[in-house]
Amino acid sequence: MRKFVLINVVIIFLFLVVICIAEDLIVTSGVKKVNEDCMAIEELVDHMEDLRTMEVVMAIENLEYNWTKNESAMCYLVNHKSIQEIGLEISKLKGYLENNESNDFMSSLDAIKFYSHSYLHFMGASLHNIL
């Protein structure tokens, strides 16, 4: 019985370690990718009069594709409600692009960056988060 318990405890410990590493890798890389894509879009649309260019459309498509791909993996580890705002802002971004509303477009882009930053901050094991 003692051996059974000991084996289980070791397995559980390893499982927890794997989960923590997986969470760190998947969530950090997913959120960082979104952040990078947003920065790239920001650079692309800088001083642009008309947002409705092929490059911007492709960049938004790319952002959405990367996010959807990462989101499904993140849903195993993260509360869906905590990350749904990013998806919501991406769909808003597409609407602003269609209507060439550059101010709203930029603020939506900022919101995505803010959510991804804040999620990274709130996920880490810092004293602030623990307390």
Partner: protein
């Protein structure tokens, strides 16, 4: 809805597994840290079960963390009596031959009524019947009665008695207990022939409610919907 059903099954199996690892004490009298753990587990298990947006891992990870914590605390308790005392407390003698230890009673924050309740639970109804009463770390009161009030045993009466043997369940609700047959070195044929001999040709194993036998040959047999019968000197 299917997600909730699957989550409920996953969490149920996991909690069952957690309790199996933690041992039987969780089900009966618990140490303080075990009680805390049980309360937390009950709460943790329900969160991912009903809230679909919460990943099931958010329930599983803390549950498994508690298993490790419990294991560590148990090991520490075994390692040093001081740590065990720190985690679980220590038994306190609340009644001694001089009477009720008022200071001990106050330190445990129990009243005379609580003390009486504990004593009555042990089958004693007057303080003068009790020599010692010890409040265990599980919150249970153990009572040592005064010699005059202690139950008379065969040793007191100097009676010669044979040791009791544990009755083994051979058939339970129509099912032959294969593992128990080995304990008495008997087989299914023995069980079948015994039932046929004692009940009659119409008897079938599936109609047996309970059939127990001990090593000294005492048997108890009850068919479903019938009165029980006992037999002595059954040859194994």
């Amino acid at each position: 809805m299917l997600t909730i059903i699957i989550r409920a099954i996953v969490i149920y199996v996991l909690v069952l597994f957690v309790f199996r690892i933690m041992g039987k004490r969780q089900i009966g009298q618990m140490q303080p840290y075990e009680l805390v753990l049980t309360l937390i587990i009950a709460d943790l298990a329900t969160i991912p079960m009903a809230e679909v947006s919460v990943p099931v891992l958010h329930g599983i990870v803390p549950l498994l963390t508690l298993v490790i914590l419990h294991f560590v605390l148990s090991q520490l308790s075994k390692l040093s009596p001081r740590i065990a005392q720190l985690i679980s407390g220590k038994p306190v003698i609340v009644i001694n031959p001089k009477g009720i230890d008022y200071i001990a009673m106050k330190s445990l924050d129990i009243s005379i009524d609580d003390l009486f309740e504990g004593i009555r639970g042990q089958g004693y109804f007057a303080m003068e019947q009790v020599q010692y009463a010890i409040m265990e770390t599980t919150g249970k009161l153990s009572v040592v009665p005064k010699a005059g009030y202690a139950p008379v045993t065969n040793i007191d009466l100097k009676n010669k008695v044979d040791n009791n043997f544990l009755p083994v369940n051979l058939v339970c609700e129509g099912q032959v207990m294969e593992n128990n047959l080995k304990l008495l070195n008997v087989d299914q044929e023995f069980v079948k022939s015994f039932i046929l001999k004692k009940i009659g040709k119409s008897a079938k194993i599936k109609n047996v409610l309970l059939f127990t036998l001990d090593k000294s040959g005492n048997a108890y047999l009850q068919m479903k919907g019938e009165e029980f019968k006992t037999f002595q000197g059954v040859k194994i």
